[in-house]
């Protein structure tokens, strides 16, 4: 992560813009859509507990501390994906988020809700977004006259 950020720093012009988008450490929720409203029925599990998101935060913070980038703005937003069936959702997760899984209890609640008429199943993530600017290393001090 740090090497990737260092490479981006090198590829950007001085004062260039970096927008970073990565998931927060808040677990993603599994929801069912009933009558147009979403109801949470579980969370997405990850074997490593989402440690990579903490590492991403730390990598970015490290480059900021070292004066490579400055933060101009940051925010969070919710990112949702919707499927008509649990199987479609699981296939999508397998393609795009390989270490994510839905535990047996949440799976059962999704199946029950869909059988009872829920129109969709969704996964909702809390995502961090930041606008940073590439800083230049300080100029060497001018020699004393």
């Amino acid at each position: 992560m740090v090497h990737a950020l260092e490479t981006v720093h090198r590829l950007l012009v001085p004062g260039g813009l970096l927008v970073d988008i990565h998931p927060s450490t808040t677990p993603a929720t599994v929801e069912v859509v009933e009558g147009g409203a979403a109801r949470a029925v579980g969370v997405i599990r990850e074997p490593d507990g989402g440690v990579e998101y903490r590492l991403a935060d730390e990598a970015l913070a490290g480059l900021i501390r070292r004066g490579r980038f400055g933060v101009e703005r940051h925010d969070i937003f919710q990112f949702a994906r919707y499927a008509d069936t649990l199987e479609e959702l699981l296939e999508n997760l397998s393609d795009t988020w390989q270490d994510a899984f839905i535990d047996a209890a949440a799976t059962a609640r999704v199946r029950e809700a869909l059988a009872a008429g829920a129109s969709a199943v969704s996964v909702r993530e809390v995502v961090r977004i930041a606008r940073l600017v590439r800083l230049s290393p300080p100029s060497p001090a001018a020699p004393a006259p």
């Binding site: 813009l17 990112f79 949702a80 479609e88």
Partner: protein
């Protein structure tokens, strides 16, 4: 029906709020995947080089590249650390779920 990714376009809105000034900029997108996000901002950028180390994703993106963006977006299967590009050759970069 396929899985709908961010149909509310909250990611698009968040990116537009963070980077409203991409016009005429040379943009590097790192981790473009199948181009899902790329298509949503590229029309208001100057030129975009969208990269992903996964050749399968890049192949999918090439299939889905909207004709209107064909002269503006270049897709390349590579990681950022292996990218063959000059220093200071981009005005903006987007790390797209890639950290």
């Amino acid at each position: 029906m396929p899985v709908r990714m961010d149909p509310e376009e909250r990611e698009t809105a968040a990116l537009a709020a963070m980077a409203p000034d991409l016009a005429d900029r040379r943009v590097l997108e790192v981790g473009c995947g199948d181009g899902r996000l790329t298509w949503r901002y590229a029309a208001r950028a100057g030129r975009v080089l969208a990269i992903d180390p996964d050749r399968d994703w890049i192949a999918l993106a090439r299939e889905d590249l909207p004709p209107a963006l064909a002269g503006r977006v270049e897709l390349r299967a590579t990681g950022v650390e292996e990218l063959d590009a000059r220093d200071a050759s981009f005005d903006a970069a987007i790390m797209s779920w890639s950290l």
